[in-house]
């Protein structure tokens, strides 16, 4: 005698139909969303990794924004210092002319006046601000860094000697400023003092050569400090390309974590459809099978 089977086939058939419909659903959802992981329980490890991935990508986006805001600031500082170099170079030229003794006293007075003009140009350059903050006042960015005392003719530095640093990628901070005291009133070269001495020397006709040397010292000091901004600009360009590379890596990681293989999803869908139709057709056949009763007349 054969084993007695469950005469009620419906639960098994329904389970099979539901299973194939679920498979169709999953494949459709994957194709529609472009992701193989649509909810947390689909792949908890991938979603946990995705949290870190999105966090890194968000940080990188911000770093890129920081890069562009710093880039603008650095460019302003760099071009300001380039103008300062022009001013000081002009002062050296004037001073050298004054020192060779061919100028008359009145001519020297006139060029001394030009030096005076250069001094005030230098002052306004040193007080350059970008988006409401002074570039050369250390961290006291709301304080005008250099002021001229009109009675003593001395230029005082009101900023501080501090620097700031900003992260441009994780754990990679970059210094963002050089205090004005270091650029313009350094021990090895004081731009304001040198120009004023040159002015006085031209007026008096004495020690013009020494004053020119002082201006040259100040010029080389400014050039040295300007290198900082040049380097910083290079560094942020490097950071920028590093960040864009990292973003590419992160998005390809995201794709491998939760992305879908469209060809596979499409063939899954077709497979599930075929299975579904087969089960429905089979169910129709089985359920409409005649019983013994149909033959009893």
């Amino acid at each position: 005698m054969s084993i007695r089977l469950d005469p009620n086939l419906l639960p098994d058939l329904l389970t099979a139909v539901q299973q194939s419909e679920q498979n169709m659903n999953i494949a459709t959802q994957q194709l529609a969303s472009g992701r193989s992981v649509n909810q947390l329980s689909d792949d908890p490890a991938a979603v946990a990794a995705l949290v870190g991935n999105h966090d890194r990508a968000g940080q990188d986006d911000q770093f890129v924004r920081n890069v562009s805001s710093l880039q603008a600031r650095f460019q302003v500082a760099d071009s300001t210092l380039s103008n300062v170099v022009t001013v000081l170079t002009r002062a050296v030229t004037i001073g050298t002319e004054g020192a060779n003794g061919t100028l008359s006293a009145s001519d020297r007075q006139a060029v001394a006046g030009e030096v005076q003009g250069l001094t005030s140009q230098l002052l306004s350059l040193a007080n350059t601000s970008y988006q409401g903050t002074y570039i050369f006042s250390g961290t006291a960015v709301k304080t005008q860094p250099f002021t001229l005392n009109t009675t003593t003719n001395a230029v005082a530095y009101n900023g501080d000697g501090n620097t700031t640093s900003v992260e441009l990628s994780s754990g990679n901070p970059i210094n963002t400023n050089v205090p004005g005291s270091q650029v313009f009133q350094n021990g090895s070269g004081n731009a304001f003092g040198a120009l004023q001495n040159l002015n006085a020397a031209l007026l008096s006709g004495n020690n013009i050569g020494a004053a020119v040397t002082q201006v040259q010292d100040a010029l080389s000091q400014v050039s040295t400090q300007r290198v900082f901004y040049g380097n910083a600009l290079n560094q942020i360009t490097l950071s920028e390309s590093f960040l864009s590379q990292e973003k590419v890596n992160l998005s390809s990681q995201e794709n491998s974590l939760v992305g879908v293989d469209p060809a596979k999803a499409a063939s899954d869908l077709v497979q599930a459809q075929v299975a579904n139709q087969a089960i429905l057709a089979a169910s129709g056949r089985v359920l409409s099978l005649p019983t013994l009763l149909s033959f009893l007349k």
Binding site: I3, R4, L5, D6, P7, N8, P11, D12, T15, R35, V37, N38, Q39, L40, S41, D42, D43, P44, A45, V47, A48, L50, V51, G52, H54, D55, G58, Q59, D61, Q62, F63, R65, N66, S69, L70, Q131, G132, T133, S137, G138, T139, A140, V141, K142, D160, N162, T164, S165, V166, E167, S170, G171, P173, T176, N177, V258, T291, L292, L293, L296
Partner: protein, 390 residues
Amino acid sequence: MRDSILDLRVNQETQQQGKLNAFLGSAQQIQALFNETSGTGLQSSLTAFFSSLSQLSANPSDLNVRQGVLSAAQNLAGAFNQSSANLTTVQRNVDLGVSQSVTQVNTLTAQIATVNAQVAAAQLSGQNAGPFVDQRQQLINQLSNLVDVSEIDAGNGSLTLTTSSGAPLVVGGQSFQLTTQPDPTNGLQHVFSQGVDITTELTAGQLAGQLQIRDQEISSLQNSLDALASGLATAVNTQHKAGFDLNGAAGGNFFVPPPASGAGAASSVTVAISDPTKIAASASGAVGDNASANAILALQNQTMISGQTPVNFYSTVVFKLGNAISSAQTEQQSGGLVLSQIQNLQGGISGVDINEEAANLIRFQNAYQASAQVSSVINALLQTTINLIP
């Protein structure tokens, strides 16, 4: 025909399915709250908060940037509050479900007690108890979906039903009601049997699944969110108080300090300052200094909550939740297969096959016809015999 071993196995599997279905039903609502695949979960708010600090580091004196930091912090606090409130809502709904399940259990046990008495009475009087036994078995199966049931044969065909931990449900013709009472501390319903709290002793059935998600899964998620919110708020406050604001004054609390225990931190965390100049970005007091902003920003990569960075801690929380749901789904699927196998076996024994019954019908019909034929022959013989008598 019944196979009592198969009946028991069906009931056991039904209990497991009941538990897993209840667990998954609510767990799927919860995982929608932590849907990090679409990037709408807590992570985006966390990252945005630290991004705003990074921007502050690049522009420490810019008021717009400072306002941006405050907005991002408010968004983060809001995301914590919202997640916590959503969890509480799910928890309250499940709690309501617990009371309803208990009511259903009580209805079923009362019905079973009645039928149980009928089975015993029928057996004592020697009548056919089959229909009552069938009905009782069906009711026990329904009860198995709700709660873990143990059956003990009490003799005379009567059954004693208890929970697997031994709390009585049905003894003879009497049912023992389960009751619920709210927990005085959190207002969640506890399940009592005969005055004894059996909430933690229920191991299977819908009721156990509801209790598991309410008391373990949601509580553990709330605790994790609280730990994250309070750890972050405390660390940010500590750094913030070490700095100076735009006016050169020492920084105060950035977030309203969370309770020392951390309990309820996620639901209550708020930003303490509304004036953007009060953000202490400077470590020296100079307006252009950003060292304090950098120090707060550095918290992003500091292991401060259970030895993990904030985002790593959160991703662990997400992973644990997803893993619990995913393994419950696997268990539910395999349990479902087992259940349908056993039900097939049961059907093989108890099911009614039309062909078989039709064949039997013909067999009995033929026997009846044959007997009738015999009767008619005997009748004819008798007639003949009687007619012989003049």
